[in-house]
């Protein structure tokens, strides 16, 4: 990738356009009524030390697409990435972030998503690398029947410091959404997950749930989780749950007594813990296997 080019889109589909609007602002648009069968891969310039990108994604009416953003590098970088996604009526977008940056990299990632009537956005976020990660995701359902789903899988180890803010806001009726965040803290990793569901007084009929589960696997790791609910009307189904545990002692014992080594037992249990998120990309076996390998 040339130094002047900050991001690259891997797609030959004529209905998908990536345009550079200014020095560090790009617009990706998909025309109305298009079903994009192959995932759209977006990669970033991993040679520049400092990277500052604004990306606007416009998803047209009745569009169905999967977009994968990959943050990978071999040399340390400081990346500021701000994306805004506008999902038009009846669209269905699966937006996947795969982040496996080098141990010294820093990433500040802000993603704002607006969803119109009956549109669905499924945001799947795999955060596995980088020293200092600050990721903010704000999804807003503007009209009726908006569906906002988020899956986050993050792992911190070594001296990594990962901080995630995830919020779903329902401003109109009959919204739906599930936020499922899973974190693994190892070695001296510091992990913080803030989740929030907000249903305004116009959000009657909304069904939203937030779940944050974390594994704390080392005595020097630290974990903080704040799942919030802000509910301003009564005709809702809303809830949240959070748990912080280690690997289950009984499960460890059960598998060990079947002759499985401690290392393999832990691997199996962690794989079981992350399976829920990875099943959501079962149609992308290469990416799925890559993530399994990293974890």
């Amino acid at each position: 990738m040339a130094d002047s080019q900050l991001i690259k889109l891997d797609s030959a589909n004529p209905s998908v356009l990536l345009k550079r609007d200014s020095e560090n602002e790009y617009i990706l648009s998909i025309k109305d009524n298009v079903i994009v069968r192959e995932p759209l891969n977006i990669t970033f310039n991993n040679t520049l030390k400092d990277l500052n990108i604004n990306l606007i994604i416009k998803i047209g009416k009745n569009v169905k697409a999967t977009i994968i953003e990959r943050f990978e590098n071999k040399k340390d970088q400081t990346i500021m990435f701000h994306s805004r996604i506008f999902a038009d009526k009846d669209s269905d977008l699966r937006f996947i972030i795969f982040q496996n940056l080098s141990n010294g990299s820093k990433l500040t990632d802000i993603c704002e998503i607006e969803v119109k009537k009956s549109a669905k956005v499924h945001f799947i976020n795999f955060q596995l690398g980088g020293k200092d990660i600050r990721s903010t995701l704000q999804q807003v359902s503007l009209n009726e029947y908006g569906s906002l789903n988020t899956d986050l899988l993050c792992r911190t180890h070594n001296n990594q410091n990962h901080h995630f803010d995830i919020s779903n806001t329902y401003k109109s009726m009959n919204g739906y959404g599930r936020i499922i965040a899973k974190g693994i803290a190892l070695d001296k990793g510091q992990l913080m997950i803030n989740g929030a569901i907000t249903i305004t007084n116009k959000g009657g009929g909304t069904d939203a749930h937030l779940r944050q589960d974390s594994l704390l696997l080392s005595k020097n790791a630290s974990l903080r989780t704040t799942p919030k609910l802000n509910i301003a009307t009564n005709d809702v189904k809303a809830g949240h749950g959070a748990s912080v545990t280690n690997l289950n002692d009984e499960s460890l014992f059960y598998l060990a007594t079947r002759g499985i080594s401690e290392k393999d037992v832990k691997k199996m249990l962690i794989n079981g813990f992350v399976a829920e998120q990875l099943d959501k990309i079962s149609d992308l076996p290469e990416l799925r296997n890559e993530i399994y390998q990293i974890i």
Partner: protein, 532 residues
């Protein structure tokens, strides 16, 4: 199941699915129980049948043996005003001179005056909290921080000696009757000072001390000095500082080693005058192996002008001890209730917080347990009802420090008529807290489309052997449940109140029977739109 139940039979069921099954729907509980195990028995109940019940104590017909003390509470009782002119002798506003006057009036030792003045300085420098409801509308110069209605140090020895108007207030609240029937001792505070204190002789012979803290400061100075504001230091936050500067009255409870107090002790705090401030301090010391139960109640009449309550409760639970602190807060809607409650729990001990917050316009109340000793436990059970014009910010804070500690938090909140209820929780598991276990459940009922509920827990874990679970649910009354009851001839408002009583049952059933009735009566009054 533990606890006493006052019950009303709704229907019997031939269906084995209902009998002996524990069903859960939308966070509410339907219970099935053999009637033979219920006390007191109602003559309407058929014997030897398993039946489906909803707890609704106010529906029970009182029998000759049992007349609930607090069943007849009405809004008039709480809004009763004593128009005596004692308040004219006391000024509004907080000054250094007032702090010195309070200390001089009580003839306090130098260390207490120094603590008050230090607290006053902290109050002037610490900011208002950055979270929670807006407090800028609270004008400190409009509050009367100290007023005496009777000027009797330590209170009167008998109810007959208490001035007529004050005695009448407490009689209507049911306090003397409760003292006769169910309590081991009673303290009553009116404005800034205690007006009555009593304890059963059997307990005082065992070394139990239950008295007004102003008196305890003189009678047991070393004990008070050792513990006073050590759990909640004056620089903890702005309202702890305010409390440290102007505290007056309150309770001193000391239970010596190995003594088990079977019946509860109660203190009741009553504000009367307009723009009054009450700053009672409750200091509780439970020595090793001791057990006790203490209940606090409070109320104030409504004037439409701000009042302030910034009390403080400090509890020290020794080793292998057990203590329950229950409270029913029912301040008027113009009161700011900014209370601080905290306990330090030593090895193998247990603390139980059981609370109901029904009153006040703005509440910020987060009882805190510090699980310092290995094997210590804390249970926090609470109800908050936010009606029109109310903001209830309640919750629980737990710090796991020792090994093998456990905590459980069960919070139920109800919002109605535009009220806002907020659960704010804090859980910290320190590096030293091996094998800590914590379970938090928050359920919120929003009864109409104009009310709101927030849940804001903050969980930080620094030990990999901890197991922490938190869950919360928000919803409305189940339409099917309401239809079921109304189709049996029960008016809709009553059906809703019954379901709400069932919703709060897990907390209410932990109270002694009489106080469970009081809690249910207060909830019923809120559901009746009896706006205070």
């Amino acid at each position: 199941m533990r606890g006493n139940y006052v019950i009303q039979v709704i229907r019997t069921s031939e269906n084995p699915l209902y009998n002996r099954n524990f069903l859960k729907a939308d966070g509410l509980r339907w219970i099935s129980i053999d009637i033979d195990r219920c006390q007191p028995k109602s003559s309407e109940v058929k014997r030897n049948q398993s039946i489906l019940l909803i707890m609704n104590p106010t529906q029970q017909k009182p029998s000759a043996q049992h007349k609930p003390i607090f069943a007849k509470l009405t809004r008039d009782v709480f809004d009763h005003k004593n128009n005596a002119d004692y308040i004219k002798k006391f000024r509004k506003g907080l000054t250094r001179e007032l702090v010195e006057y309070i200390s001089k009036d009580k003839n306090e030792p130098d260390w207490m005056l120094a603590l008050r003045l230090r607290s006053f300085d902290y109050f002037n420098t610490l900011p208002l909290p950055e979270f929670g409801p807006e407090l800028y509308s609270l004008h400190f110069d409009e509050i009367c921080f100290f007023a005496k209605a009777a000027d009797k140090k330590g209170g009167f020895k008998t109810w007959e000696d208490v001035p007529k108007e004050i005695k009448y207030t407490f009689e209507r609240l049911g306090i003397p009757e409760a003292e006769r029937k169910v309590l081991a001792g009673v303290g009553a505070q009116y404005e800034s000072e205690a007006i009555y204190h009593s304890i059963e002789k059997e307990l005082s012979d065992k070394g139990v001390i239950f008295t007004d803290l102003d008196i305890a400061l003189h009678k047991y100075p070393e004990l008070v000095k050792k513990y006073f504001m050590k759990c909640v230091p004056p620089n903890d936050h702005k309202f702890a500082a305010l409390h440290g500067a102007v505290w007056s009255g309150g309770t001193f409870l000391y239970i010596p080693k190995g003594v088990k107090v079977e019946k509860p002790l109660q203190s009741y705090f009553r504000m009367n005058a307009m723009n009054m401030g009450q700053f009672e301090h409750t200091l509780i010391i439970i020595e090793d192996g001791a057990e006790g139960h203490y209940i606090e109640g409070c109320s104030a009449p409504k004037y439409g002008s701000h009042a302030l309550h910034a009390g403080c409760v400090e509890i020290f639970v020794g080793k292998n001890a057990k203590f329950r602190y229950s409270s029913v807060e029912n301040w008027s809607r113009d009161t700011y209730n900014l209370n601080t409650k905290r306990a330090i729990i030593e090895k193998n001990s247990v603390i139980e917080w059981v609370g109901g917050n029904m009153g006040s316009g703005v509440t910020m109340l987060y009882p805190c347990s510090i699980l310092k000793g290995d094997g210590s436990k804390a249970d926090h059970l609470g109800i908050a009802f936010a009606n029109e014009g109310q903001i209830q910010h309640t919750g629980a804070k737990v710090y796991h420090i020792g090994k093998n500690t456990s905590s459980r938090v069960v919070m139920k909140s109800i919002s109605k008529g535009g009220g806002i209820s907020v659960y704010r929780g804090l859980l910290r598991v320190a590096k030293t807290a091996e094998n800590a276990i914590s379970q938090v459940e928050c359920d919120a009922l929003i009864l109409d489309s104009i009310s709101a509920s927030d849940t804001i827990p903050d969980i930080k874990v620094d030990n990999e052997t901890a197991t922490v679970n938190h869950e919360a649910r928000v919803g409305r009354l189940n339409e099917e449940d309401i239809f079921y009851l109304t189709s049996r001839g029960i008016p809709k408002e009553q059906a809703e109140a019954m379901i709400v009583n069932g919703f709060i049952n897990p907390v209410v059933r932990e109270l002694p029977l009489e106080y469970a009735v009081e809690m249910n009566r207060l909830i019923e009054m809120e559901m009746e739109n009896s706006v205070g």
